[in-house]
């Protein structure tokens, strides 16, 4: 594992590989990421994003390490993490579903799409299915208001989603890798 870790940049890692990665490996990759930002202002958010991309969420030891390395107080790091709904501090499912409830999506039925997803997956917002396949979250505008209502699954954007089509939408992700 170690050898492959060193040969890859973080972008090559698909999410949730953390299940196979030791914290030493994680810190090693994290340090490489942080080094790329050394001396640049405003490094915190991109570093947090990279860390979450790598692990699927932000464990405490990762946030503490980022705080130490960037010289930003831990309380400030968690302040930023807890401000943005994008960041998560609890492990998430293989696929993170984010339902946009920005104004346009809300008006065009985002709420109903969300309810349908909650029913179909038997979880509520912020929760993860028992089989760790899906996590459900709310987004606040993805900047795709013309396509409302919008649902993101991982990095895929699904436009004009209808509650009746939810089952179909989920089907393509069941058992699939995280793409």
């Amino acid at each position: 594992m170690k050898a492959t870790v060193e040969s890859k940049t973080f972008n090559d890692f698909s999410k949730n590989q953390h299940q196979e990665m030791s914290s030493t490996d994680v810190i090693h990759i994290l340090d490489n990421i942080i080094n790329e930002y050394s001396g640049t202002e405003g490094a915190l958010i991109p570093v947090l994003q990279s860390a979450q991309n790598m692990l699927g969420y932000l464990p405490k030891y990762v946030m503490i390490h980022i705080s130490e390395r960037l010289g930003i107080p831990y309380s400030e790091v968690t302040g930023v993490v807890s401000f943005y709904s994008y960041f998560s501090t609890i492990p998430r499912g293989r696929h993170v579903i984010r339902v946009c409830l920005g104004t346009a999506c809300y008006v065009r039925g985002g709420k109903e799409v969300l309810e349908a997803l909650e029913k179909e997956l038997s979880i509520r917002v912020g929760e993860t299915t028992e089989d760790r396949q899906f996590s459900l979250e709310i987004g606040r505008c993805f900047g795709a208001c013309g396509l409302a209502p919008v649902v993101m699954v991982g990095d895929d954007v699904h436009q004009r989603v209808k509650p009746a089509k939810i089952k179909e939408l989920l089907k393509q992700y069941e058992g699939a890798g995280n793409e």
Partner: protein
């Protein structure tokens, strides 16, 4: 210089002035709940809004710069109505148990609501509810009272470079707290209490020790002694609306006597003792390096300020060997009160209760550190802030302003002027130089009035150097040595100084660090609200107290000479080592 019109008056404020500053300079009052002098304005509370002609929305005056030709109304009906609504909204989320609140007397929100004529709750909606954080010895936080003005965040981050608190979460659910709204004990809080000094409401206060003190005073079996820090005498008067910088030493002693303390002593006594111990420690380090060719950590740092100690333990553990092993004067006093004094008086030390009055919240933390039980008991039992003593004097029914003056008791109440100036930034350094220079050369410090003027200002980091000439034979190895000293106050300033020392950019022999801006006179436990103007007034008062003393140097204090003869033996001797010195520990910044 732009020309503006404010409330019909023509004004010419300086360039780059904000509307708020321009108004203040012109004697126009604009209320604000988040503004902090000298810090980047946030515009968080919105209370300082004003109307600018030609601009549709009202603007926050604290963060709007003046521009040529601006016509501003700070108090139009539209402004007053909007301001009232903003305060009504703040009140709607605020857990206002005013009659029971610590800040009942000086709550800025309550005062402003009253000024604006708010007589009934206008909006009654959901509240976030109170979550009390009492996880640390000195600071209590109540999230329900917090109005999210972020003054505490500014002082904790920008002034103290500690960063224990920050807004967590977003919107209605935001709390100002350590990571994930946990207790202060989960992060690197140095307990300095600057947050308690700037909070406009009762959301952050010091832990109350008044009840314990009243109970001890009421217990006939207990012999209750009190020590007062030098900074108290220049600020306690403010609790009774006396102008900042009024010296109230004599009235304070009378008040303490009325309250029933068995002996009124002075932390000044152990400040003098600190100079003897710490001065000898410095000379010993210098001798080790310069004569014996040995190793000793230089520069030596002062150790009087417990917030600074905790800060170094968290953030600069590499400098711990440099910090003087001397306990702070408060802790030296406690250790001696329960040994030397108890012995002298023939009292069982178990029955001696030591109460401190400090301008400081970190002293509440310090007194319960595990290293502070060298007398065989907790050396200092209770620590009152200046604010708490003010409250107790009122509870005792005393008319403080009218009290006659009286003197402290011997022997632990005797002190020199050098001890008084421990209250000021640069003061410990000056006091040390007064003694060290004289010990080494046999002549008094060659400065007018014994003041090291470059070290007395409010500049964040100050340096000075002093060439040793005509050293007496014992210290001849110091002949011609240029002694370099530095002084920092406020932990952000201290961090800057430490970084230059770390990088090898500057070298010093002796460095004074005080946790709070201005030194102890600007401590976290002082009457609110401390501005630079008030700091200067207190500093001046302390110098006046010093200059008025017959003895100005610690080594001239006869009670100090006596305690070495009767009890301690010699400076840095075995007894001193046991009772007056301590050690430090590296600490993890985040509780895992």
């Amino acid at each position: 210089m732009p020309e503006i019109i404010m409330n019909g008056m023509k004004l010419n404020p300086a360039d780059n002035t904000t509307i708020l500053d321009a108004a203040r300079a012109a004697g126009i009052k604009i209320p604000t709940l988040c503004f902090l002098e000298g810090k980047t304005p946030l515009g968080a509370c919105r209370v300082c809004i004003v109307e600018i002609e030609g601009s549709q929305a009202l603007s926050a005056s604290c963060c709007t710069p003046v521009r040529q030709g601006m016509v501003i109304h700070t108090n139009s009906l539209r402004v007053r109505n909007a301001r009232r609504m903003i305060v009504e909204l703040l009140l709607s989320e605020h857990e206002g148990d005013c009659q029971y609140c610590d800040r009942s007397e000086d709550c800025e929100l309550k005062k402003l609501a009253n000024e604006l004529g708010i007589r009934a709750p206008k909006y009654t909606g959901e509240k976030t509810g109170s979550k009390i954080d009492d996880t640390t010895p000195a600071i209590i936080r109540d999230s329900g009272k917090c109005i999210k003005c972020r003054r505490c965040v500014t002082v904790c981050n920008a002034v103290q470079n500690v960063g224990a608190i920050f807004p967590q979460g977003r919107g209605f659910e935001t709390t100002i707290s350590p990571a994930f709204a946990a207790g202060l004990d989960s992060v690197a809080c140095v307990q300095c209490g600057q947050c308690t000094a700037v909070c406009p409401v009762g959301a952050i206060i010091e832990r109350d020790h008044t009840k314990g003190v009243w109970a001890a005073l009421d217990d006939p079996k207990k012999h209750v002694v009190v020590q007062t820090a030098p900074a108290i005498r220049a600020s306690l008067g403010e609790a009774f609306d006396l102008p900042p910088g009024t010296l109230v030493t004599g009235r304070m002693v009378t008040a303490l006597r009325h309250m029933g303390f068995d002996a009124i002593f002075d932390t000044n006594f152990t400040a003098d003792l600190t100079i003897i111990e710490e001065g000898n420690e410095l000379l010993k380090r210098l001798k080790t390096v310069l004569v014996d060719g040995g190793e000793a950590a230089l520069p030596q740092f002062t150790s009087c300020s417990p917030g600074w100690i905790k800060f170094a333990e968290y953030f600069y553990p590499e400098f711990l060997p440099n910090i003087s092993t001397c306990k702070s004067p408060q802790q030296m006093f406690g250790a001696l009160a329960k040994t030397y004094y108890a012995e002298k008086k023939g009292i069982n030390p178990e029955d001696v209760i030591v109460v401190s009055v400090m301008p400081c919240t970190a002293k509440k933390y310090e007194c319960q550190r595990e290293e502070m039980y060298d007398s065989g008991y907790q050396d200092v039992d209770y620590v009152l802030t200046t604010r708490e003593l003010g409250r107790m004097i009122k509870q005792a029914g005393l008319n403080f302003i009218e009290l006659p003056e009286s003197e402290m008791d011997a022997p632990l109440g005797m002190s020199s002027g050098a001890a008084d100036i421990f209250a000021n930034t640069g003061g410990v350094m000056e006091a040390a130089l007064r003694t060290v220079y004289e010990v080494v050369t046999g002549r008094p410090l060659p400065m007018e009035n014994l003041h090291v003027t470059p070290l007395t200002t409010l500049e964040g980091v100050k340096t000075a150097s002093l060439k040793i000439e005509g050293a007496v034979p014992d210290w001849s190895f110091l002949e011609g040595v240029e002694v370099r000293v530095a002084v920092a106050h406020g932990l952000d300033n201290a961090s800057r100084l430490l970084e230059t020392i770390k990088d090898g950019k500057e070298n010093f022999h002796f460095v004074e660090v005080m946790t709070c801006p201005g030194g102890c006179i600007g401590g976290g436990g002082q009457p609110r609200y401390t501005t630079d103007e008030i700091r200067k007034a207190r500093i001046e008062a302390i110098f006046k107290e010093d200059e008025g003393k017959a003895l100005r140097k610690s080594h001239d204090n006869p009670a100090i000479i006596q305690i070495y003869e009767e009890f301690l033996g010699q400076p840095l001797g075995e007894k001193s080592h046991h009772l007056l010195h301590t050690c430090y520990q590296k600490r993890e910044k985040v509780l895992q």
